[in-house]
Structures are given as C-alpha cells and as structure tokens.
C-alpha cells in the first residue's frame, strides 16, 4: 500500500471525512476542468535573462515560458501552470500574462477560478465564453472581457471558428479584495480611438472608460504610426507600469522593445513611448506594486 492510500485508509477509518471534506482522489469530480498539462517546451527552469536595472525589468520575448500542446500554443511572461521560474512570478499585482494561440474549434473546457481579476484581449479570431453565471458570449478582436472570479466560478473558452485559429492575451491581476461576488463584463472598443493615442480599456471605476476590475489598475492600448511619440503619466502614486509590445518595435525611454517583449518600470511618474515601426501596437498595464 503506498503512503497516500495508507493515510487515506487510516483517516476514513476515523470517520473524519463526512460530507465536508475531500481527500486524495476518493471524491471524483465530474466537472471537466482543464486537464493538467504535461510539461512541454522550454524555459521551465529559472533563466537569468531578466534584465533588472535600477527601476526596470526587461523580459525579452524569447525568454518567456513556452508550452506547445498542439491545439494550444502558449507563451507565459510569468510563471504559470507547469512553467515555474522563481524570477518570473509577477510584476506587482500583475500575475499572469499569457499569449495564447488556440486551434480552430478547440479550447479550454469547463474549469474553475476564484479570487482573481481575469482580463481577455482577443488579437485575432473569435473566442466563445460560457460561465456558471449564465453568460454566453463571443469576444472578438476589438473587444475586451473582464471577469472577477471572487468566491468562485466555472467557465469555458473555445475558439468559435472551425476554420481559423484565434489568438488572445489572457491577463490575471490579483484583486484588492478577496471573495467578491463573481461578475462578468465585456465591451466592444472603437479601434480608431487608439490610433496615435492611448485608449483606456480598463480602470477601477465602473463609470470610467473601458471595463472595470477590483484593483487600482489602468490598462491602455495604442496603435501608432512610425515615429509617433507620446507620454503616459501614471495615475496613482506607488503604481508601476508594465508595457507589452503586441506588434512592431518601440522605444520606452532609452530601452528598445520588439514584438512580444515586456518591460516593467516602477518608481516613476511617467514614461516616454516612441513607435519605431509602422502600425506598432502596445499594451500598457499600470498596476499597484504590492497587494
């Protein structure tokens, strides 16, 4: 008898597990949550390629965690699932930045979440969402979805199209309050509003532009012509900002960034941004640096 079964058997004999406890795999769950993914790809060990300077950290695209499961190809800026890198755990309350490609007709089956603010930004194709709150929705390029998992929800996400892949960013932000009532929000944005401008897509305020979450965070998207330059002023003292290049090349301050690179900056009031290529796209995530 192995040790797991030995402990299980011993405790069952005490009557300790009645209705409110689960131990080992005695209680089978019929819910088809995400099957645990096997370790795949590379960067599953710590790597020294985070360039940490006085108040910045640079994550080059190629140093991200990578897992290719066939139907799902995912790059993780921060440790996620089987990608564990103690140097890449989070940037302030920004905990997950996954860059996912899902094959036609495929997706994530019903799976649980709790106590997390989850934001999805489709970059290509359509993503169908269903959840335990009764929401059924399709999000497409130009939309943004926010979900407060709070006390617990189940949802599924599938590529709605049978003939083309979908690409999207999934971002997890630690909430500023635990155990909130779960909620779902989705809006369509006018992409013209980000041409040579920073378009606010998320804030802490329900009556402000974009979706809102339970955190003092502000997200912006920009799509810039080559040579266009602007500045982003942080909205809250003590916050940091994480810039993620969706497409093209940028300079942030004196640091050059290429497609899918990420740069975190703290102890600053503003950052200077310049597009170095045509139709360059960037996502800025201003977040508290501590819970």
């Amino acid at each position: 008898m192995d040790r797991k079964n030995f402990i299980k058997k011993g405790l069952m004999g005490t009557g300790m597990f009645i209705t409110s406890a689960a131990i080992g795999d005695v209680m089978k769950n019929d819910i088809d949550e995400i099957k645990e993914l096997e370790p795949l790809g590379f960067n599953h060990l710590p790597n020294p390629e985070s360039f940490v300077m006085e108040n910045t950290v640079l994550h080059k695209s190629a140093t991200r965690g990578h897992a290719n499961h066939g139907w799902l190809d995912s790059h993780h800026t921060f440790s996620f699932a089987n990608y564990h890198n103690p140097d890449r755990m989070h940037f302030g309350v920004l905990r997950v930045l996954n860059d996912d490609r899902v094959d036609a007709g495929m997706g994530f089956g019903k799976h649980p979440h709790d106590n997390m603010e989850i934001i999805s930004i489709p970059l290509e194709g359509d993503l169908e969402h269903q959840d335990s709150m009764g929401n059924v929705a399709v999000i497409k390029k130009g939309d943004i979805q926010a979900m407060s998992a709070g006390t617990g929800i189940y949802h599924s996400e599938f590529n709605k199209n049978k003939d083309k892949l979908t690409k999207f960013l999934q971002i997890w932000v630690y909430p500023n309050k635990k155990n909130v009532t779960p909620r779902y929000d989705q809006i369509s944005l006018d992409e013209n509003e980000r041409h040579n401008k920073l378009q606010q897509i998320l804030s802490p305020n329900a009556d402000d532009a974009g979706v809102w979450i339970h955190q003092d965070a502000w997200f912006h998207l920009g799509k810039f012509d080559k040579g266009f330059a602007t500045e982003y002023k942080l909205k809250k003292q003590g916050n940091g900002i994480y810039a993620f290049v969706i497409k093209g090349d940028f300079n942030i301050g004196t640091i050059a960034l290429n497609e899918r690179d990420g740069l975190g900056i703290w102890d600053t009031k503003a950052i200077a941004i310049e597009a170095l290529s045509e139709n360059a796209e960037i996502l800025l995530m201003e977040v508290p640096m501590a819970l």
Binding site: R3, K4, I7, L11, T14, M16, F17, I18, S20, A21, A22, I23, G24, D25, M27, K28, N29, I31, E33, I34, E36, L37, S79, F80, A81, N82, H84, P86, M89, R95, V96, H111, P112, H113, D114, N115, M116, A149, G150, T151, G152, Y154, W172, Y174, K178, N179
Partner: protein
C-alpha cells in the same frame, strides 16, 4: 539511496467543486499528498491528524475564520507554511506550492 519525502498539503475553501478540483490537482503530483476541508472544524481536525507542510487558504473564508485558522495552525505547527491560494485551479497552484517549498528549503 535517494529518499523523497512526501509533502502534505491541506486546502481549505468554501466552494465544494473548487475544493474537490484543487485537491485532485494536488494529488496528481506523486510527491504531494492533498487533503481538503470545507469547514474550519474539519480543517483543524485534519491538521491535528497529519503533519501538513503547507496549508492553502482558498475562496470564501471569512476574515474571522481566516484569523482563527492562521492562529491555530501557527500555534499547532509553526513550521507549516500558510499560503493564500489564488485562481481556483491549475493556473497558479503548482507555482504556489513550489514557491512555498522553496522558501522553506523543502524542495
């Protein structure tokens, strides 16, 4: 000869389906033993029966309960790591456990 010591992990959460899911995910790792409790009383009983290395606090635990549980666990076994679990599934679970073990040099 190399001996691998099983790490015992207790998950406490008020959402029964998430509780079952998290416990099953923990037990998918052959080096980890996972147990779960939905109530404070069951959690404390379990804690006295098994030498847990990590306690994961899941969703729905009221602030008063959390304070009571933290005090009880810290008093009963000061070596046990108490970790707030976020996300409710496989996304962060493994990293939370590995981080807790690393911080205690238990890997």
């Amino acid at each position: 000869m190399l001996f691998i010591i099983m790490k015992n992990i207790l998950y406490i959460g008020r959402h029964p389906e998430i509780l079952e899911t998290v416990v099953r995910l923990i037990n998918n790792n052959e080096d980890w033993f996972g147990a779960g409790a939905e109530t404070d009383e069951t959690a404390m009983e379990l804690f006295q029966s098994i030498n847990f290395h990590i306690v994961l606090l899941g969703c729905g635990i009221e602030p008063e309960s959390e304070e009571k549980l933290r005090t009880f666990f810290a008093t009963t076994n000061p070596n046990c790591r108490i970790v707030q679990h976020y996300g409710g599934g496989s996304g962060l679970l493994k990293n939370e456990i590995l981080s807790a073990l690393e911080n205690h040099n238990m890997v």
